[in-house]
């Protein structure tokens, strides 16, 4: 028996495939309900989701890796719902992915080309890593420069997912002095929808959640001005942080193992960038809800924001913006006063951001 022979036989819908895998309708509906919850959709959406999924041939996904560290792929493997195995065996057809695919060299490239041809206009391209524009020799695959691989693969794609801060905004390779001229995917692909899924890496379930949304509704999720899905990047970590009450009370950890640190007081003075970082770490948390950086005692470093590497030291307390509040640098040291001032600032900023679907960035505050 040969898999390649099988390939020619027939294709099944997701519904048929699940049935064949011993997943009955009841389990399937449960899965859909869980997905609806994950995506913050009304319960009625679960049925719609079930109908959509049961009909679908697994969409082809081509995953391109450029200037990256494989942290985003590693994150993908940590997803609890949907799990990696559900995703790639039941929901999508991951037709090209350097880290996971069996074939190497020519056969690997042939798999990419076949997927592009068979699914022209319908496949998704996920990209991790930035693209170096300084010299085509800075990053090649099969002797071809990253920019050419990207353009060729994106040409017949339905949409592009820029996974991780490097693909979304340039990330670490683009940090000063950007030695290789690294740029974000959205700077290179202008004729296709690009969804940015930032984070260094993104939360596992956010990566799979965006894909699940696309599968369920055949459309991309609603994005903010920075191209991020609002469902996951709509609010700051600070606004959803379990330590927020201490911030409001002006109770701050002064060092990493003092009494305040042990009681879970606010990490603002230790440099936490939660107030200016839009991500779901504080709500969805990491690795099956076990923890997130702040819960494990380290301030947020703002890793899902553009240019966070160049936005000042990770242990520098955020300074209050001179404009519009003019509270000055002294606010950070002023305990309750700082809490109140920042609360006010955030409420205002958050309102503005929500109205315009924009986000505050560290850069904004540095100005």
């Amino acid at each position: 028996m040969d898999l390649l022979e099988y390939r020619a036989t027939r294709t099944k819908t997701v519904g048929e495939a699940l049935e064949q895998h011993g997943i009955d309708r009841r389990d399937f509906l449960k899965l859909c309900a869980a997905m609806a919850t994950l995506l913050a959709l009304p319960a009625s959406a679960a049925e719609q989701l079930a109908v959509a999924l049961a009909k679908a041939r697994r969409p082809s996904v081509i995953w391109l890796s450029f200037q990256e560290c494989t942290g985003c792929t590693e994150s993908l493997t940590r997803s609890h719902s949907p799990s990696l195995e559900s995703l790639i065996f039941d929901m999508i057809s991951l037709d090209y992915h350097h880290t996971l695919q069996a074939a190497s060299g020519e056969a690997a490239e042939a798999a990419r080309e076949a997927a592009m041809k068979e699914n022209a206009g319908k496949y998704l391209v996920a990209v991790d890593g930035s693209v170096p524009m300084g010299n085509p020799g800075y990053s090649t695959i099969a002797g071809v420069a990253n920019i050419d691989v990207l353009r060729e693969t994106a040409k017949d794609a339905a949409a592009i997912l820029a996974v991780g801060t490097c693909a979304a905004y340039g990330g670490l390779p683009a940090a000063q002095p950007n030695p290789t001229g690294a740029v974000a995917i959205s700077e290179l692909i202008k004729d296709k929808p690009v969804v940015n899924i930032p984070g260094c890496p993104p939360i596992p379930t956010v990566i799979t959640g965006v894909i699940a949304h696309y599968l369920a509704f055949g459309a991309l999720p609603e994005l903010d001005a920075l191209g991020r899905p609002k469902a996951f990047y709509g609010e700051t970590i600070h606004d959803r942080c379990y330590r927020r009450p201490f911030y409001d009370q002006g109770k701050f950890a002064e060092t990493f193992d003092d009494e305040g640190a042990r009681r879970g007081w606010c990490l603002f003075k230790l440099g936490c960038k939660g107030p200016v970082t839009y991500n779901a770490c504080a709500t969805m948390k990491w690795n099956g809800g076990v923890s997130f950086p702040i819960q494990s005692g380290h301030g947020c470093i703002g890793c899902s924001e553009p240019n966070f590497w160049d936005a000042g030291g990770f242990y520098e307390a955020l300074s209050m913006p001179a404009h519009p509040l003019k509270v000055g640098a002294a606010a950070a040291a002023a305990g309750v006063a700082a809490g109140a001032a920042v609360t006010f600032f955030n409420r205002k900023k958050k309102g503005a951001a929500k109205a315009g679907h924009e986000t505050t960035t560290l850069e904004d505050l540095e100005r």
């Binding site: 099988y6 697994r58 030695p179 990493f256 009681r263 950086p293």
Partner: protein, 581 residues
């Protein structure tokens, strides 16, 4: 077959690797290893707060996601002579050990296994016979006929659906696949189990570091404070008032979860990983006779019982083995001139004093100078520069680093558990000690060291609990946190045994900023190109003499390359030094 074999991309690795080989008939005469991506992180590290360096260095690699961050933290601590509390040392040891086993298991099942396991063959297996096989190897609970029938049904459904995804265009049916259908089905089942297992095993990193990949670290200790008050007797208005329990992830629940993870890691290694390695290896004994290459091995040492400045307390010792001579261990000094040096004769970099000399990491330079063929290209110019990796050498010699080097070092030093485990494995496989110097010897070493590390984890955990019980909840040393307390200029080296081998980060700090940063990384030792003397790197040496059945399906090359567990983003680290640009 043409006289040039080209494999690019090499998949099921971290990063971007290209292998070219000059063929004589179907035999590899010379192999050339090329890293094809560069980011220039060295330039990015300069002129920043050294306390921030770990986060940047950590992004060298997201697979060995802990180790570059920790090597960086250790480099800063070495430069500042900055001691850390015992609890922080224990927590770091636990995190490193968890990284080893997590990394090794994922490597074995998700990166390496498909070199030995034929997915199509699993469809032909008898689930009942598979169950008998599995139960003869291990007491792992998931080994009933029904379980394997379900896995097979799932696989069949997947294949029947006609979309093969990650298995598409695989080399199924290649004559080099030799496992019986039942062993293939068992391996496929464990491929899936390992995905599920690993995402829970990283809970240890999530508790201590907030997330995985890329857990949080801090110079001077660990970031997570211990949210447990052992002295509190439950009377009156205690510290539970306003915070306290659940203040951080490391509370009583978190501590219990760590214990659960350690148990889960141990069970998976004992019941799945170790038996599978031995079972699969038994069908490929010819791969214990080829694929080693250099015969020189080096370790930096890891798992301090006291501090990093006391190498005698390390569980894994430091040293070098030359020409497979286990009776003599050479001393290795990471600070000494003329020991560790990097060469760029065949790399796309320039050195200010000429491309032929080697530089110690403290004096190292990295100036990007791509002189390769203009993309798109068919073939590299291997007589000239052909890689973004440099060629590190120890006293001028090419060295292999990694699990095989560590197991040999422990074995040579008479480590009891290592001798027992190696003896057990060789006896089961009916092989001599010399079988370790091979492709599968390297793969088996990775499994055996996982067993050693897991046992140590329980000891560190017990010590951490005992410390907390005795009232020691220190996890951070505040003394040298403020840059105002630092000397005007200092330098240091942070080293570790990363999953893929000896890793060193060298830092020079001036006026509170990083003046210089250089990382010499395990996969650079192993995957680097030839040096100016024409000495091949470890991959290149290991591939020499391999017979390749079908150049379009270069399974034999993948077996040996994967046995090193390549991590190429790591290997193209690079750091720029002052005055070099």
């Amino acid at each position: 077959m043409s006289d040039r074999l080209v494999i690019d991309p090499i998949t099921r690795i971290e990063g971007h690797l290209r292998i070219e080989a000059r063929m004589a008939g179907n035999v590899i005469e010379e192999a050339y290893s090329s890293g094809t991506m560069v980011r220039g992180l060295e330039l990015i590290l300069r002129d920043r707060d050294p306390r921030d360096a770990w986060a940047i260095a950590q992004r060298i690699c997201g697979v060995c996601t802990l180790v570059h961050g920790l090597a960086s933290v250790r480099a800063v601590e070495d430069a500042l002579k900055y001691p850390i509390p015992p609890n922080a040392q224990l927590i770091r040891n636990l995190m490193i050990a968890a990284q080893y086993v997590h990394d090794h298991v994922m490597h074995f099942y998700h990166l390496h296994a498909l070199d030995w396991v034929d997915i199509t063959s699993a469809l032909k297996a008898d689930p009942k016979a598979t169950s008998t096989l599995a139960q003869s190897l291990s007491n792992y609970a998931k080994s009933s006929p029904g379980y394997f029938a379900d896995v097979q049904k799932r696989l069949k459904g997947f294949v029947d659906a006609g979309q093969l995804g990650i298995f598409g265009k695989g080399y199924w049916g290649h004559p080099a696949y030799r496992l019986p259908p039942e062993a293939n089905l068992m391996a496929v089942a464990h491929y899936l189990e390992a995905i599920a297992w690993q995402r829970d095993a990283v809970a240890l990193h999530a508790i201590f570091g907030g997330k995985n990949p890329h857990p949080m670290l801090v110079v001077g200790g660990v970031p997570v404070a211990i949210s447990i008050w052992p002295e509190h007797q439950g009377q009156g208005k205690g510290p539970h008032f306003r915070g306290g329990q659940s203040g951080t992830a490391l509370d009583v629940t978190g501590l219990a979860r760590i214990q659960e993870v350690i148990r889960s890691i141990r069970d998976f290694v004992d019941q799945v990983y170790l038996p599978d390695t031995l079972a699969i290896a038994g069908f490929y004994k010819d791969w214990f006779k080829q694929g080693e290459g250099l015969g020189n091995f080096m370790t930096y040492g890891e798992f301090p019982a006291k501090g990093m400045d006391d190498p005698a307390s390390f569980m894994i010792p430091r040293g070098a083995i030359l020409n497979r001579d286990l009776s003599h261990i050479e001393e290795v000094d990471l600070n000494a001139e003329g020991e560790i040096e990097e060469f760029v004769s065949h790399s796309w970099y320039d050195y200010s004093a000429g491309r032929e000399r080697g530089l110690h990491p403290y004096q190292g330079e990295t100036k990007l100078n791509y002189t390769g063929p203009k993309p798109p290209y068919e073939q590299l110019e291997v007589e000239k520069a052909y890689s973004w990796l440099k060629s590190p050498r120890w006293k001028g010699k090419a060295m292999e680093v990694g699990p095989l080097a560590r197991v040999l070092m422990l074995y040579a030093k008479g480590h009891e558990q290592t001798k027992e485990l190696v003896g057990m494995a060789l006896k089961k496989l009916d092989l001599p000690v010399a079988a370790l110097y091979s492709t599968l010897g390297r793969t088996a070493a990775r499994t055996l060291e996982s067993r050693i590390v897991v046992d140590a984890m329980q000891g560190w955990y017990d010590q951490l609990v005992a410390n907390i019980k005795a009232g020691d909840v220190d996890t951070f040393n505040e003394a040298l946190w403020e840059p105002s307390t630092w000397p005007k200029r200092c330098q240091g080296v942070g080293f570790m045994e990363a999953p893929r081998g000896g890793l060193g980060h060298w830092i020079v700090i001036e006026n509170g900023k990083t003046a210089n940063y250089q990382a010499v990384v395990p996969s650079t030792w192993n995957a680097g190109p030839r040096d100016g003397l024409g000495q091949a790197g470890a991959y290149e040496a290991a591939l020499k003499g391999h017979a390749v059945h079908d150049g379009k399906q270069p399974l034999e090359v993948l077996r040996t390359i994967h046995s090193f567990d390549p991590c190429i983003a790591c290997a193209v680290h690079v750091v720029e030094l002052p005055g070099s640009d």
